[in-house]
Symmetry: C2
Subunit: 407 residues, 2 copies
């Protein structure tokens, strides 16, 4: 039996409830065999486990490791040239016509081997881990044909063999229409439904199925067809919904029982009401809207006040959100979306776990949860978003194993 006692922390955020009563002050945390045993006074826990190895967290804050529930972290090259064009105001559609956009990453990934994708993916997953993320969803969607979608998902599976970060794979053949199907959109949906989804499910390469529903990309009818086919093969729906224009996508997500509706920059009142009355999580990605040059964000406050469950995620990808940093996303949530630091921390941990339907306690420090945690060199949890994406991380533990530098 391996016992670890994290002692001396100013605050331990258990994230076991909503924002009330989750900040334990001057408490200790006992981990037994990689599982959270409990949070209590140091005296109580050291009496319970007198031989525990002690980890000094004096003046620190302990949070659950972040659960980044929306990423495209396995991709080929960066796309900085396109960023330079957009910074001067070139519209996305023109950038796409010049060979940029999602299809630039598609051409890139189709030319690379699975091994290359693993190698590139490793650096991105490591960047996430260095920001305190211990669980991450990762989507396909840069292959856009059967062979390359499978290659991308197999790369994610290979990465899972080597990284301590838990990777939750999502099939997203419906990320964009590939160039060769631009004028045969129905045929591409057929390909997804009849060939890709059965192949992905056959190899058990994904848990979720996601679609980019947005005017000009996937319509409501196409989205429904893809997600329903996914459900028939055991893939849980998720949805890129109402990102830039409203198309009733949040409502469709609820109707289809999606685990989450993501983006929501242009969600309607009806969409807010639908999410609030459902188990579908509202996943907010403010780094994307900031990076794309927008200055309006998803209505986080109204979603929270209506009763929706919120997750915050990075959307880490080379086109619209080249950041792996959950703390930076939390800063944007607090500065631009009216969330307070505690709400942001909850949304970045247990909120993400709910968006991924993880029911083993991931995203919390409840007894029985995997001991996935981050120790921050700050005396007050409010400094986590306040330090503007630069909160000093002392260490990260995954299932009780230290995976980022020593104390």
């Amino acid at each position: 039996m391996t016992t670890l006692l994290f002692r001396g922390a100013r605050e331990i955020l258990t994230c076991t409830a909503d924002t009330a009563d989750i900040v334990m002050r001057d408490a200790a945390l006992l981990v037994v065999d990689g599982i959270v045993h409990g949070v209590d006074t140091f005296d109580a826990l050291s009496a319970e486990a007198p031989a525990a190895a002690e980890i000094d967290c004096t003046d620190c804050v302990i949070t659950p490791g972040f659960v980044d529930s929306h990423t495209h972290a396995v991709f080929g090259g960066w796309r900085a040239a396109e960023y330079a064009m957009r910074s001067r105001g070139m519209p996305y559609m023109e950038i796409a016509h010049r060979g940029g956009g999602i299809n630039a990453s598609v051409r890139d990934i189709r030319m690379r081997s699975e091994e290359e994708l693993v190698e590139l993916g490793r650096t991105r997953i490591n960047a996430m881990l260095s920001c305190g993320t211990t669980t991450a969803e990762v989507k396909s969607g840069y292959g856009l044909d059967t062979e390359n979608e499978l290659k991308q998902l197999r790369a994610i599976r290979s990465l899972q063999q080597e990284t301590p970060v838990d990777l939750v794979p999502t099939f997203m053949g419906a990320h964009e229409f590939p160039q060769e199907y631009r004028d045969r959109r129905g045929a591409y949906i057929d390909l997804i439904v009849n060939e890709m989804i059965p192949a992905v499910a056959g190899e058990k390469l994904a848990v979720f199925c996601d679609v980019f529903m947005e005017p000009g990309v996937f319509t409501a009818a196409q989205t429904r067809r893809v997600l329903e086919a996914g459900v028939r093969h055991g893939l849980v729906p998720k949805l890129h919904a109402d990102e830039l224009e409203n198309s009733g996508a949040a409502e469709l997500a609820v109707e289809l029982g999606a685990a989450s509706a993501d983006h929501l920059g242009a969600i309607s009142e009806a969409g807010i009401a639908a999410l609030a009355q459902s188990a579908t999580v509202a996943t907010l990605l403010p780094a994307t809207l900031l990076f794309l040059g927008r200055n309006r964000y998803a209505p986080a406050r109204r979603l929270i006040d209506a009763g929706a469950t919120i997750a915050l995620a990075t959307d880490f990808n080379p086109g619209s959100s080249p950041t792996a940093s959950m703390p930076l996303v939390m800063t944007l949530a607090c500065s631009q979306m009216g969330m307070d630091p505690l709400e942001a921390i909850v949304a970045a941990t247990v909120g993400g776990a709910r968006a991924l339907r993880l029911t083993d306690g991931t995203g919390t420090l409840a007894p029985g949860a995997p001991a996935d945690l981050a120790v921050w060199d700050i005396p007050d949890h409010r400094e986590l978003p306040y330090r503007f994406g630069a909160a000093p991380l002392r260490g990260v533990w995954k299932r009780g194993q230290r995976v980022r530098p020593s104390l």
Copy 2:
């Protein structure tokens, strides 16, 4: 004679002109005794200095070290509690009434010794250096009485003795009215003019004199009185101008021959025209407006197109911009202000130097300039803002001395 040859870089940004012709591709850089000797082919430079120590910059980009021309980097504690209040929408004035705002930092700094300020300042200057900043302006303005303004400026001077970062000190007794002068504003101006400025100038503790001109804080008449008194004592004017509301501050800055007018979130057309026709630099601080929850930024594009000289800076301070990262500021400039990556790099280097009236080549890699430079592990300068405040820094050199980790 010490000679260093930086070889193999994909790009060297000399920042010797505006954005045309400053990107040298596949070139090398020769440094002699801490001074830039020249940028040329590797063959030409190694023939010139065959015994030079070589520094491998393969696949990297070299830029001048950043010149962060607007910071309040010497302060006491962080102010995260106030951030939490503001995130939920509490107005600044109410936060100030509850003891927050600039006066919170004033109470804090008055209770600390000069040695404590040096110790705290060290960590902040080091954070700046770790982001690639090699020259930084630092303001007083958390003392707000003669004794404590002098203490803060002396702390900056002490830090200069130990840090490789060049610190340019600014006296800013007119940062806010201290609590004890709230109802005797004229008397506080008298104190600044008759006591503080002569004392600061007598000890040669500052180069610049700055005022927070904004409705509700310092009026135009008060600003003029302070800055003119500064000029009489050899202090060059700078101005916090038109940050949140327009009050004609940019125009006043030009009239008074200020080195820079800073913030400019609410500058008028007349203010833009005035800056464009002057030597007063427009210093833009987008991190502040983002962090404060605003979604409108200074009109960078219109200022550039009108012909104004632009500097980008962090405004590093515990109230409205707790970031030391110039690359993050550049990301905001490109994503939110319509600047392109090259314009942002120029504004963050030579633009800052112009705002500080540094005429020795600081902020450039021109022959004769101090060899202050940053080596980035990216193949293309556009990745510097694109990597969303996380561009990987390989190393920093100050006057030819390596001051951040080894290659």
